[in-house]
Symmetry: C2
Subunit: 348 residues, 2 copies
Amino acid sequence: MSVTPLAWENQTLRLLDQTRLPDDEIWLNLREHRDVAEAIRSMRVRGAPAIGVAAAYGIALAALESDTPDRNALLAGLERAGETLEATRPTAINLRWAVRRVLSAVKSAPDADAIKARAEAEAMAIHREDVEANRSLGSHGAALLPPDPLVMTHCNAGALATAGYGTALGVVRAAAEAGQRVRVVATETRPLLQGARLTAWELAQDGIECTLIVDGAAATTLRSQAVDAVIVGADRVAANGDVANKIGTYAVALAAREHGVPFYVAAPSSSVDLSIASGDLIPIEERPGEEVLSVAGRAAPTGITASNPAFDVTPHQLISAIITERGVAREPYVTSLAEVLGAVGVAI
Amino acid sequence: MSVTPLAWENQTLRLLDQTRLPDDEIWLNLREHRDVAEAIRSMRVRGAPAIGVAAAYGIALAALESDTPDRNALLAGLERAGETLEATRPTAINLRWAVRRVLSAVKSAPDADAIKARAEAEAMAIHREDVEANRSLGSHGAALLPPDPLVMTHCNAGALATAGYGTALGVVRAAAEAGQRVRVVATETRPLLQGARLTAWELAQDGIECTLIVDGAAATTLRSQAVDAVIVGADRVAANGDVANKIGTYAVALAAREHGVPFYVAAPSSSVDLSIASGDLIPIEERPGEEVLSVAGRAAPTGITASNPAFDVTPHQLISAIITERGVAREPYVTSLAEVLGAVGVAI
């Protein structure tokens, strides 16, 4: 497993700062839960499963930080730490799931030392289980793909978004490990360019072919190329199957349906929120507008291929009217355009 | 009319360098047709109608540049200049239309001086007529909108993309001039960010409210906000109404149809190519991958608002399967998710 976004060493959470990729590989050493909260909020660690694991270690750090010998005071402190961590990002359910799982594990511990030991052990279990879950779901997903598949993905649901191996990219890796030649089309995923900066980077580490496109090119790529499947991750899955995922996912899903391309969501069970009936009830995080207004200083890693069609074709069936200076044409355009324009349009 | 991308002064084509907007307003003074070709190729001037007008002046400059007194030699030189100009960008039909219109106008001129005079006069006519066409189509389009409309647009089909006033944004301006409070949602339009750099900038010049979104947010915005119409420009309209326009247009059209939002194309008749049966026959320009791989140094103008939802919701109807480590769930998810996951998903 070549890529991992975090490690637990000597009661320190080591985090690969994903805001610095692909230019720099900077590892942060975090020893306080508030630093973990900051790292999640500023997306130094991101991806629903990865922030779940990081938050679990955040609770473990909150326990280790504390010098109170009082069991109840320590538990109350951990509850507050949990609230701080949960408040960082509202959409991914794994964050809340992981925090509550650790809090639940320590509840029956008899004293402060046992609370610290159990918090650390539970966070490590969540960490370990996430990698195992990704390998399982990767194998389930790879079975859905044809030989030598061309897979489109959006954002980064890879090793970097999890404890390792990845969800959507876990399926890709499982297919590659099964001997398939897998090629990936990655959308760059504005505003923070996780596709360009992270997906392209981690696939390059594993030698998996990846072509980068702008988000707007996904629909036309699904029409013009033989994409076998779209596979994305999830920040939260509602009970009815509605999926909250990185902005832009919905547009890709619409285009996939239009062109008969299977659209798969790869997610661990910790991303599924059966307590919520539909996607309408999932809180959607609104992030700073500055992320959209500014794009300076970000780029894909070197050695990556990009596809860059400047235009796409919108079929007439999707167009309500074509407005010209000579009037408005509507379906059937094959007669209305010539009528509205007279001979002008063929003047060439 | 506050914004115009080009002007003809003293037999010089003055071009606003759109690659430098919104940071700098740099006007270029072009006196040779090869410089016009370079400006079109490098998108210093862009937008189908605007490059048509620029190319028409390119032929006029080619005539004025020439010092041959020989009528036939001059005509042959203009044909070559036309080929150079037409070769710059393949998709927008206005380029070819404008070049051929000027070449056709000079064909019967009796001598070199008459050729020069007619080329200049025809280019000026194309320039003037484009503004008039935009005002007409703006008025036709505004009649399709409800009072105080919220309009979504993609790329820049504004004053900067034409001789002035704009096509899609011409409709917006016509509605504003008719006393409506028009608000615009502009997609940023990667890779070259014409929405962020140009549409947001020119609407700010005219005091029209504009909110910027990433391209991936268009679909979810059409679902969650009361957008009255999507209006885009066109680089070429085929006889059946298929429209080639900036990459990403097709994805917006799919989402508009999904949510019952009218999707209008605003284009002058010079963009309609009745000689082509469908969009499949329109050549799509492939531009350098570097435009996708690199984004440094570009940003929206100051004072612009952005909307930045970090996630969107993909309805279950668009999802072929949800792959978890416990197996694969398919419709109806409302039962299959619980079956596949057992109680795990509700563990919170």
